[in-house]
């Protein structure tokens, strides 16, 4: 009876170790606080109808940012725990974590940072910016977009669920390599949580990618041929095409692993003819292109940033586009370099080693187009540009160490060492994350309506850069000294401890940088009157997103623009903007179907983790019913009349772009840290003294 009702769940599953109890209490407290605050402020209805059920890609983009931001803190905490353990655990000291717990932490760190931080930020940026850049009012399928987002949220919940029930995450490394992840060697629920978390969010990614391909290829403004498309959109298109190519492989592979665990099949087992190395092959066929899926939108961001802040058009647009396409195409044929040591033979290794080295060519072309764009430009060193410059340095180092690793004989020495860990962090932090930060500080005025505080932004940048170098340079050295990755303990005679301590200090500096980024946003909100962007074009930009108000109206474009050149808005500014004539606009209705489907998907996954059969059946039926109701609903749009559009457009304060030509790099008025502390303390004292919370 108990089995029927709650499967394998039981009192054992409740948190009973210090870290799960601590995290569970924190999560419940945070959840309660949010629920009480919303109830107290009577904002439930607003939250539901304006945000959660919204199909506006701009709002969905912002929600992606919020979730990914929280996950950055969560994954960052994991990183600090890993570094702390490694700094402490030398010789007779065994640190503060057990080996098993340490393995769970680095697994969760990898899963969260790739799937829920990097992917979340990338999808957030694409959601907000791509429709604006191509002159579209919406996405091809607004419903698929909200569904993709909520499946991502379901994945986020699933990856954190083990804190509340199960007390165990996968201890297999972020890819869950077989046969370690099979039932035989990982009997607990940890791997199941990982499989379902990645499965649910991965399906969301596939759907989202299909949607963006449809949007970019079918909904561009009239006149915008592919050769006139902005470069961020190009990067996003390449990234999304790769995503639809490889995410189905991930889905299929995870299903096979799930069958092995759940139905007793023999795909990746060591017995009855299974082939564990096939798992490694399949998962890396997805895994290697995945890093490029994250990378290409960042390439696009840098192309936009470098041309705007050098006040020049991009040097050789064609080379840039060809570079991005080249990277995407080659990225699909290099996966085997992750396991040269498997023993596939010298010829196979040579092929994949060569392909990996060749991929450096289109990447270098990209770097050269950016540097050539800066040449003789009038460069403004605003924060997006700083992130770009930091990126170019780190990316070159990361690229060169990558080419080193691509040489099979060298790889036999460096495989699975900290050198490798340092290499891919250089690419993912220096490349992907810096690109995302550049993008966020570049487009923040468009998203929020005011610019970010430049001064604190610079502090954050320098903390990230210096912290990064301090944290990862020692790892390169350690790797060459022979330290393998995923070590929870090492002998003191190795002499590694000082390097690990230095890495920890670097990690802490990075964390200060993250804290400063949050401070930066709060400080900008405090000063938002002064930082407000009335023009819609704060950087003297070149592409269409700057031609609309900041923040962009919900219909994006009152009049769909006619495009005749690459830097469409730049051209409009030169020629003068014609007087608009408004027309009726079709807008999609909000829908909660995405939330319901994702909730059922989450419950189905949860049912599989704990073997609760009735829950699985009910959830799958629920998904089917929701999908049917949604797809046969024909009333999915409403019409905004031309008069209404005109009224909204008239009410907006219009300052001609030409009136706004201040010196952007002047930050003398941006609040510094001391002033920030003063303002916040004064506000807090005021709240306490006058008991202001009563009136909230």
């Amino acid at each position: 009876m108990k089995e029927l009702l709650i499967g394998n769940l039981g009192l054992k599953a409740l948190p009973h170790e210090w870290f799960t109890i601590g995290a569970a209490v924190t999560f419940i407290a945070m959840g309660l606080f949010v629920v009480l605050a919303i109830t107290h402020l009577k904002r439930w209805k607003w939250l539901w109808s304006e945000w959660l059920t919204s199909v506006d890609p701009k709002k969905i983009g912002i929600m992606y940012f919020i979730v990914a931001g929280f996950m950055l803190l969560r994954g960052g905490l994991d990183a600090i725990m890993i570094w702390l353990q490694q700094a402490l655990s030398s010789g007779s000291s065994h640190g503060y974590l057990s080996a098993d717990h340490f393995q769970q932490i680095f697994t969760a760190h990898g899963n969260i940072m790739v799937f829920f931080v990097a992917m979340g930020f990338v999808f957030g940026l694409i959601n907000y910016i791509v429709p604006l850049q191509i002159g579209a009012r919406d996405l091809a399928s607004p419903f698929l977009n909200t569904l993709g987002f909520w499946l991502y949220v379901a994945g986020v919940l699933m990856v954190n669920m083990f804190f509340l029930l199960g007390s165990e995450y996968a201890a297999t490394g972020w890819l869950g390599v077989a046969p370690l992840s099979g039932r035989e060697f990982s009997p607990g629920v940890g791997v199941d949580y990982m499989i379902w978390s990645l499965q649910i969010s991965g399906i969301g990614t596939t759907l989202g990618a299909i949607n963006f391909i449809m949007t970019i290829l079918r909904m561009r403004a009239p006149g915008m041929s592919l050769r006139k498309m902005p470069l961020f959109t190009w990067g996003s298109l390449c990234s999304m095409i790769m995503a639809v190519t490889v995410f189905p492989l991930l889905t299929a592979t995870l299903f096979l692993l799930f069958f092995d665990r759940y139905l007793g099949t023999h795909f990746f087992t060591t017995t009855a003819g299974g082939d564990p190395m096939m798992y490694t092959n399949l998962i890396w066929m997805w895994g290697h292109p995945e890093v490029y899926i994250l990378m290409l939108p960042s390439f696009g961001v840098f192309s936009e940033v470098v041309s705007t802040f050098s006040r020049k058009r991009i040097a050789s647009y064609t080379s840039n586009v060809v570079g991005m396409i080249g990277v995407s195409a080659l990225a699909l044929s290099v996966w085997l370099h992750h396991f040269f040591t498997m023993g596939a033979g010298a010829n196979v290794n040579a092929f994949f080693g060569l392909m990996t080295m060749i991929i450096a060519i289109p990447t270098t072309v990209l770097v050269f187009t950016w540097i050539a764009t800066m040449y003789k430009g009038r460069i403004r060193f605003s924060t997006p540009m700083l992130w770009f410059l930091g990126f170019v340095g780190l990316f070159s180092v990361g690229g060169m160490t990558g080419v080193l690793l691509a040489v099979p004989p060298a790889d036999f020495q460096l495989h699975n060492s900290l050198f490798l860990v340092a290499h891919f962090h250089t690419m993912v932090i220096g490349g992907v994350l810096f690109g995302i930060f550049a993008g966020i500080s570049y487009w923040f005025p468009k998203i929020a309506g005011f610019k970010l505080n430049e001064r604190i932004g610079r502090y954050a940048f320098w903390c990230w850069l210096i912290g990064f170098l301090m944290a990862f340079t020692p790892l390169y050295v350690l790797g060459i000294m022979g330290a393998t990755r995923r070590l929870d303990h090492y002998d003191s005679s190795t002499g590694w401890q000082p390097f690990f301590i230095m890495a920890l200090v670097g990690g802490i500096i990075i964390m200060i940088g993250v804290a400063l980024q949050f401070v930066q946003i709060i400080a900008s909100v405090i000063q938002k009157r002064r930082l407000v962007d009335t023009t819609g074009d704060p950087w003297n930009g070149r592409s269409l997103e700057w031609s609309v108000a900041s923040p962009a109206p919900f219909y994006n474009f009152a009049v769909v623009p006619q495009v005749s050149s690459r830097d469409a808005y730049w051209e409009m500014k030169q020629q003068g903007i014609p007087k608009p004539s408004y027309e009726d606009i079709h807008m999609p209705n909000n829908t909660a179907s995405g939330i319901y489907i994702s909730a059922f998907a989450f419950l189905a996954g949860f049912g599989f983790v704990w073997d609760i059969v009735w829950l699985i059946i009910v959830s799958i039926l629920g998904i089917i019913v929701c999908v049917i109701t949604r797809t046969f609903n024909e009333e999915t749009e409403y019409t905004l009349t031309a008069d209404e559009v005109e009224k909204i457009e008239r009410d907006r304060i219009i300052v001609t772009p030409a009136a706004h030509r201040g010196n952007d790099s002047d930050t003398s008025e941006d609040m510094g840290l001391t002033e920030f502390v003063k303002v916040v303390t004064k506000w807090a004292l005021d709240v306490v003294k006058n008991k202001r919370w009563r009136t909230w």
Partner: protein, 196 residues
Amino acid sequence: MVTATETGHQEAANDRVMFGFWVYLMTDLLMFAVLFAVYAVLHGNTMGGPSGRDLFSLPLALTETIILLTSSFTCGIGMIAARRGRINQVLVWYGITFALGLVFLGLELREFAELIHEGHTLSRNAFLSSFFTLVGTHGLHIISGLLWMAITLVFVVSRGLNPHMVRKLGLLSLYWHFLDIVWIFIFTIVYLRVFV
């Protein structure tokens, strides 16, 4: 009232959905590609158990193939009727398609049941795991196709053949032809190969 821009808006939306569905079908095809690759790697690993030649029946597989191909043909005729707005013909032809799909599914399930009854379950060895997963995934797609077809036909009866419904039938027939093509590969690689 339907104006000219209104029709243009509808047509553009149809075009986008059609295109997006093609992209979706390609992702589905890639999932099948993985299953085919896995079958290709594992099909010899019978661990001393019977191989495909001992287990499969060519006449049965051939019957299944002919049934599914015929259903693709009737589905195509149904689509022509839908574009001409002939609701009764749509119901007849899609009804036949549905029945053929059901027969196909029945034959496949009977084959599975016999294999399992004789002890050739999917947990026995890697060959059977990959066989059941590949063919079973196709069967699962057939089930979802049949469900989709049944519901669409109910809505065609209740709402008539409006442009929305014609579009849905178009997507459905694309899906059905797609499953047919996948089956041809299954027939060739799984069944036919072991008898030549």
